[in-house]
């Protein structure tokens, strides 16, 4: 019953020559430009198509006509998409570094499911209806499940399989609980079936402003962790020899991932695979240095999420595919591709 795990090689991040630094910085800038273009597209595209003029009018000289209302709604949806995307991508990158596991993702590790189960509990049993109320439940659920999976998966000898299995198993159990709640309560079913697929549909100004502080703190924390996480990647002994505080780094990483993923899940419902895919793509051109991976994840993860949201609005017009479904349909095959590769992406 042993599970064979793929061999992984871990190399210390090699110092890059200055020219490469310039290239990477340029890449980051290009990513930001792409993100801005997508954000504008996200405001223009949908059941009602708007021209750039109309978008401009709605953003900067709104007179409250029909088009301006559409722009306002899509603006908050887009901003929330940017925020949630960055949060999910960063938490995925942090989790992959923390667990030294290329398959780590808030969805696959069950952290999403933990937040979901807690939110469902808050909605049905405690009558919490506002986001500012149940975001705390989401944090608690994400933190507890994250810690449980991390401990169950084996902190020191965590193979990709072991962590993924622990996460999947815990998700399955929590999913059963969420389903039982939906059966017993038709009103909850009406609401929850839309929330549990993960979508940006109900985004508005207050959703955005309520999760913004949490995600901001989580993001800053994650970016500050780049160097200690680099040390962690070299293995416990080397890291300790280099003077890294292993436990402090691990704890702060979990705090950061919990804040990011819990807030994103509370606002949009569970969205999987963003945190899995983006760091892999980034790693393929930056290498394993977290000081580049994390900033890139902040820029490119929203590209994926907002892009998926646009795709969801385009393919199912006049209705839409929720963004969580689009990311799962894109991300599942990527995951399978990664699994099929002989040596999983190096960390």
């Amino acid at each position: 019953m042993l599970v064979d795990s793929p061999q992984e090689q871990r190399d210390a991040p090699a110092p890059a020559p200055p020219a490469r630094h310039a290239m990477r910085a340029l890449g980051l800038l290009l990513g930001a430009v792409l993100l801005l273009a997508l954000a504008v597209a996200s405001i223009a595209v949908g059941a009602k198509q708007l021209s750039l003029d109309q978008v401009w009018h709605g953003l900067f000289s709104s007179t409250g006509n029909y088009n301006d209302v559409v722009v306002d709604q899509r603006l908050w949806r887009t901003l929330l998409g940017l925020l949630a995307g960055a949060a999910l991508g960063l938490s995925g990158a942090v989790l992959q570094a923390l667990t030294r596991n290329p398959l780590a993702d808030p969805g696959l590790l069950g952290i999403n499911a933990g937040a979901s189960a807690a939110v469902v509990t808050a909605m049905t049993f405690f009558g919490v209806t506002s986001l500012s109320g149940y975001v705390w439940f989401a944090f608690a659920g994400a933190a507890v499940v994250g810690a449980v999976v991390y401990l169950l998966g084996g902190t020191r000898s965590a193979t990709p399989v072991r962590l993924a299995l622990a996460g999947t198993a815990v998700s399955a159990a929590l999913y059963g609980y969420v389903q039982s709640v939906m059966i017993m309560d038709n009103a909850a079913l009406g609401k929850l079936r839309f929330w549990t697929v993960g979508s940006l549909v109900s985004a508005d100004r207050s959703t955005f402003t309520q999760v913004l502080p949490f995600i901001a703190v989580g993001t800053v924390l994650a970016l500050l962790l780049a160097r200690p996480l680099n040390a962690l990647a070299m293995g416990d002994d080397t890291a300790r020899a280099l003077g890294a505080h292993l436990n402090r780094t691990r704890t702060l990483s979990m705090v950061s991932a919990t804040l990011l993923c819990g807030a994103a899940t509370a606002a949009c419902g569970p969205i999987a695979f963003v945190g899995l895919m983006v760091p892999h793509v980034i790693r393929s051109f930056t290498g394993p240095d977290m000081r580049w991976i994390l900033p890139y994840a902040t820029v490119l993860s929203p590209v994926l999420l907002v892009g998926s949201d646009i795709i969801g609005r385009l393919v199912a017009r006049p209705g839409e595919l929720q963004v969580g479904i689009v990311t799962a349909v894109i991300g599942g095959p990527v995951f399978i591709f990664l699994v099929r590769r002989r040596r999983m992406a190096q960390l």
Binding site: L2, L103, A169, A173, G176, L189, R193, T196
Partner: protein
């Protein structure tokens, strides 16, 4: 351990402990089925149930037992048995105690087929069952093909299954949002796994499939167990490893799909039954027969318990196995981790 050998060279090994455990589990399953048949708005004593089953009850008892409750109990026994056995096969092939149809996404695949029938075509019970069967088979084939890389086994099978499960779960969520509330409620009950309202139209196809598939699984059980020692060892013993795995996976997928078609994706029976049985028999690996008996006993007891705890048909049996399975799972993860088996 005793072995029986015939002159023709056939030999059957008998392990007394496994035999006793199997007999006890079979007895528990049958007793639970009798109790289940006697339970409900109209209570019937166990003696009356048995008398009626042998054809000498009064007309009202014959109606309640024969038309209403016996089919439900039979579906419970067969579904539990099929899930238990398929769980044992999956766990043997993947060499992982968590490599069950729940984790690999087969239940979700069957659910997708059923949801398509419920939501898009407003299908009746038979069409929903057919949809589940097809959905399970397609998912199984997809996992097998995608996990293939000079053979299928081990971690790749499990991880590919997890990926497929995630995609299919998302699709299911989408289908659920497409439905109106009444259909969504029907779909959610189906998705939880329920034995409520099962009649003879579910029993016969399930029985036929089990009658073909279960003996097939037993024929290939021994070579499969040998492969647990590793492909090289199996090869040395003259076993065609990939053929044995393909046959056993096909049987397991069909059993899961058939069970899901009849009762919905009852969670965790396939995951727990083989491991619980293995612990009772103290065998090295999961055994298909004891796992099937354990699955049957588990499901019928759970169905009875859910009726007693929540009143008839308030909460489907799948909700109970889901919660119990979750608790069991945590324990399994902890204990297997200590033993270094996951």
């Amino acid at each position: 351990m005793t072995a029986i050998r015939t002159k023709g060279g056939l030999s059957v090994r008998l392990r007394p402990r496994a035999l006793i455990v199997g007999a006890v589990l079979a007895a528990v399953a049958l007793v639970a089925a009798v109790v289940l048949i006697g339970t409900g708005d109209f209570t019937i004593s166990a003696a009356d149930v048995i008398r009626t089953l042998f054809g000498s009850g009064n007309p009202s008892q014959e109606f309640i037992v024969g038309d209403l409750r016996l089919p439900r109990a039979l579906v419970g026994l067969l579904v539990g048995g099929a899930l238990g056995m398929s769980g044992a096969l999956f766990q043997s092939v993947s060499r992982n105690p968590l490599g069950s149809p729940d984790v690999l996404g087969l239940g979700q695949g069957a659910t997708a087929g059923a949801l398509i029938m419920i939501v898009l075509f407003k299908g009746n019970a038979t069409e929903v069952a057919l949809g589940a069967l097809v959905g399970g088979l397609v998912t199984g084939a997809a996992i097998y093909l995608l996990a293939w890389r000079r053979g299928v086994h081990g971690y790749r099978l499990v991880l590919v299954g997890i990926g497929i499960a995630a995609i299919v779960t998302a699709v299911n969520g989408y289908l659920l949002t497409k439905a109106d509330l009444v259909e969504a409620a029907r779909a959610v009950v189906w998705m939880t796994g329920s034995l409520n309202g099962r009649d003879w139209t579910q029993v016969w196809p399930l029985l036929a499939l089990c009658a073909v598939l279960m003996p097939l699984a037993l024929v290939y059980a021994r070579p499969l167990r040998m492969l647990e020692m590793g492909d090289d060892m199996g090869h040395a013993l003259g076993i065609h490893a990939q053929r044995v795995r393909l046959i056993q996976l096909t049987v397991a997928v069909l059993l899961t799909a058939a069970a899901t078609a009849a009762a919905g994706p009852v969670p965790f029976v396939a995951l727990t039954a083989p491991q619980l049985a293995r612990r009772l028999t103290r065998a090295a690996g999961p055994s298909p027969v004891t796992a099937a008996l354990m699955g049957a006993a588990l499901l019928v007891v759970a169905d009875w318990a859910s009726q007693r705890l929540f009143g008839a048909d308030q909460l489907p049996v799948g909700a109970l196995t889901g919660v119990l399975g979750g608790v069991y799972l945590l324990w399994l993860l902890v204990s297997e981790r200590k033993a270094g088996r996951i």
